[in-house]
């Protein structure tokens, strides 16, 4: 293709926008489908006529009202918050300290342990939930939301530790040495130098911890049986699928609302998240 630089640039941009557009359609279709379905009447959802992609017979908020009045949605929401916030805090405290120790204390085998920690993260939930069921039972935490507080950090800490090791490794060693000479001990060095410098990494790790904890499905489904202890993900599904009847409108409304907190978190912290994930890849 021959043309002026300007024309070639325009063509390239067009291709870029085309690809981005395709991605957007692909990734935004599920939430759109959820939103549309959640606003339809039951008759329209179950009707075999018409076009599923648009609302033809009038929108309704009935599913949302039902969600709040006829299900334990608010209980699930409360439980999710109660589980997620301490999970994130506990995981971050452990990860930060582990990452600091592994990246800076320089003990024998630190590198090996660092790799080992990451390998642990690669073991899938679906392999772990049966043995973990025994463990949770042994701890007397079956059918309690607090069981998740024990289980989630096992998945979050390895990844966050690994992420933070990479981030801490990008902090020049001379900075620690300057702090050592200035009279800081390891704890002061961590709190006053490392954490402020590593804010983007911490945010990336926090987002990850939040997402894992908020969206976990298998563990609550396996460990929690009563509605009063259940969290959003499993709770919405178990209370809106009765036998073989799927309450699609309610399911979609619940799923949409449940996905809002992570979306908001991502939107506010996205710039930090990206710079956190790419830290250490280049030497700034």
């Amino acid at each position: 293709m021959i043309g002026s630089p300007r024309a070639r640039r325009a063509a390239a941009l067009l291709v870029c926008y085309g690809i981005i557009g395709a991605f957007m359609v692909f990734f935004l279709f599920p939430p759109y489908w959820m939103a549309v379905t959640s606003l339809k009447t039951n008759q329209e959802i179950e009707s075999l006529e018409g076009i599923p992609l648009i609302i033809q017979k009038g929108a309704t908020l009935k599913h949302y009202v039902d969600l709040f009045t006829k299900t334990d949605f608010l209980v699930y929401l409360k439980n999710s918050v109660l589980v997620t916030i301490p999970t994130v805090l506990i995981s971050m405290v452990i990860s930060v300290m582990a990452a600091y120790a592994l990246s800076r204390l320089g003990f024998v085998g630190a590198g090996l342990i660092g790799t080992g920690v990451f390998l642990v993260y690669l073991v899938p939930d679906s392999l772990l939930f049966i043995p973990l069921f025994k463990v949770i039972g042994g701890l007397g935490l079956l059918n309690s939301k607090w069981s998740l507080l024990v289980v989630y950090p096992t998945a979050i800490v390895p990844f966050c530790t690994w992420l933070l090791i990479g981030y801490f490794a990008s902090i020049p060693r001379e900075l620690d040495e300057a702090a050592l000479v200035d009279g800081a001990n390891h704890f002061q060095m961590l709190v006053r130098i490392f954490l402020p410098v590593a804010v983007p990494g911490l945010i990336a790790a926090t987002i990850f911890a939040f997402t894992v904890s908020w969206s976990g499905f298998l563990y609550p489904l396996a460990f929690i049986f009563s509605s009063s202890e259940q969290v959003l993900t499993a709770g919405t599904v178990t209370s809106l699928i009765k036998g073989d009847v799927y309450h699609w409108g309610g399911l979609m409304a619940g799923a949409l609302l449940a996905s809002l907190p992570p979306v908001l978190l991502y939107a506010f912290l996205m710039d930090y998240y990206i710079s956190g994930l790419t830290a250490g890849s280049t030497k700034a």
Binding site: E177, L180, G183, P196, V197
Partner: protein
């Protein structure tokens, strides 16, 4: 009292013996420069004094305390790093105040000390800025400021100027010298730049391969290098070295080689007597060579062919060939020579150096 004593200091890593039997007495208020090529052990030595590197063997005393097992913060030292190592999230003020805060100084005292240091260094206007908003020279000033607010017993400098551009480096060099005159704090300074070493140091320690080669005042190192390495390292352009045979003729000792025949100056003749009939290394500094005139004695002159002319304005560097020897001469800017031209060079007989061929020690 803040002298620093290093006794039989050694540092071994797994494979590398980085510092070997270093013995050095840095006197109170003295500015001592460790200089040498990279990997010579100078930084490791400094880091052992700082407490950032464990001591394999030997002893370090600061003031009258043996500090071998003391952590850096208890050694009463302050260090300036090559990459500044400023805390990126803190303002200039907080960077300088950090060490004092860690030591729980009262706020008013911190403010006073930071203010004083900022004034000395001329960075009062920068106190509220973050390091990323500063130029290289300003960052280095802040790093120095962070060290001086502490009023430590000893300053340690680890190549503090090597990240600056040439012009700024010269300027900061002068400032550091002025600062030392004013503060009179014992300082140990590491650099690979011999000019920095010569201009800053009360005494200079030349190191190579972990060994101290020579300790002395700058001009002493220049005029009386202990061995061939020091002779070649100190001075720019470097000293010219030639392998010569010592022969006896007419009651005098002559240094002979391809294209050269020079009389051994009487001052050296006594010590060189033992090398009669053997080969030694002759060293002549470029600045001790000049274009010969009619009055110059023939026994201290030789012919050479100009290979390259490098006019620097204040002087001219001539790359020459004398027989098979390649050498550099530093001559007056008024000298007019062209490449491939033949000329006769004369040397200062009292400024030539001789080195043992095997031990490389000065004779």
């Amino acid at each position: 009292m803040a002298q620093v004593m290093m006794k039989d200091l050694n540092k071994k890593y797994d494979e590398v013996h980085a510092v070997k039997d270093v013995n050095l007495h840095v006197r109170d208020k003295e500015f001592v420069v460790l200089v040498g090529p990279s990997g010579c052990g100078k930084s490791t030595t400094l880091r052992m004094v700082a407490g950032l590197e464990e001591i394999t063997a030997g002893e370090i005393t600061i003031g009258d305390r043996v500090v071998n097992d003391l952590p850096p913060k208890d050694r009463d030292i302050a260090m300036v790093f090559q990459n500044y190592a400023l805390y990126p999230h803190m303002t200039v003020y907080d960077n300088m105040a950090f060490g004092l805060k860690m030591r729980k100084f009262p706020k008013a005292e911190i403010a006073k000390r930071v203010g004083d240091a900022a004034e000395i260094l001329g960075i009062q206007e920068l106190l509220k800025r973050k390091p990323r908003q500063l130029s290289g020279g300003q960052r280095q000033r802040v790093a120095v400021g962070r060290a001086i607010v502490r009023h430590p017993q000893v300053f340690l400098f680890d190549e503090p100027l090597s990240n600056l551009d040439a012009k700024l480096r010269v300027q900061m060099r002068v400032e550091l010298k002025r600062l030392h005159d004013r503060l009179e704090t014992t300082a140990i300074y590491v650099t690979h730049d011999q000019v920095e070493a010569m201009t800053l140091g009360d005494r200079v320690v030349v190191m190579k391969d972990g060994w101290i080669q020579q300790v002395g005042e700058p001009l002493e190192l220049y005029s009386k290098p202990a061995n061939r390495f020091v002779a070649g390292f100190i001075g720019s352009p470097a000293m010219n070295f030639m392998d010569v045979a010592l022969t006896d003729a007419g009651g005098a000792l002559w240094a002979e080689s391809d294209g050269l025949r020079l009389k051994v100056p009487p001052a050296h003749a006594g010590r060189l007597g033992a090398y009669r009939g053997q080969h030694v290394t002759l060293g002549i500094r470029p600045e001790d060579l000049r274009v010969a005139m009619g009055a110059d004695a023939g026994e201290y002159a030789f012919d050479a062919v100009v290979d390259v002319v490098e006019p620097l304005g204040s002087e001219i560097l001539l790359d020459l060939k004398a027989g098979s020897h390649v050498m550099v001469a530093r001559v007056e800017p008024s000298v007019r020579v062209k490449e491939h031209e033949r000329l006769r060079l004369a040397l200062h007989p009292e400024r030539v150096h001789f080195f043992d061929l095997k031990t490389e020690l000065a004779i």
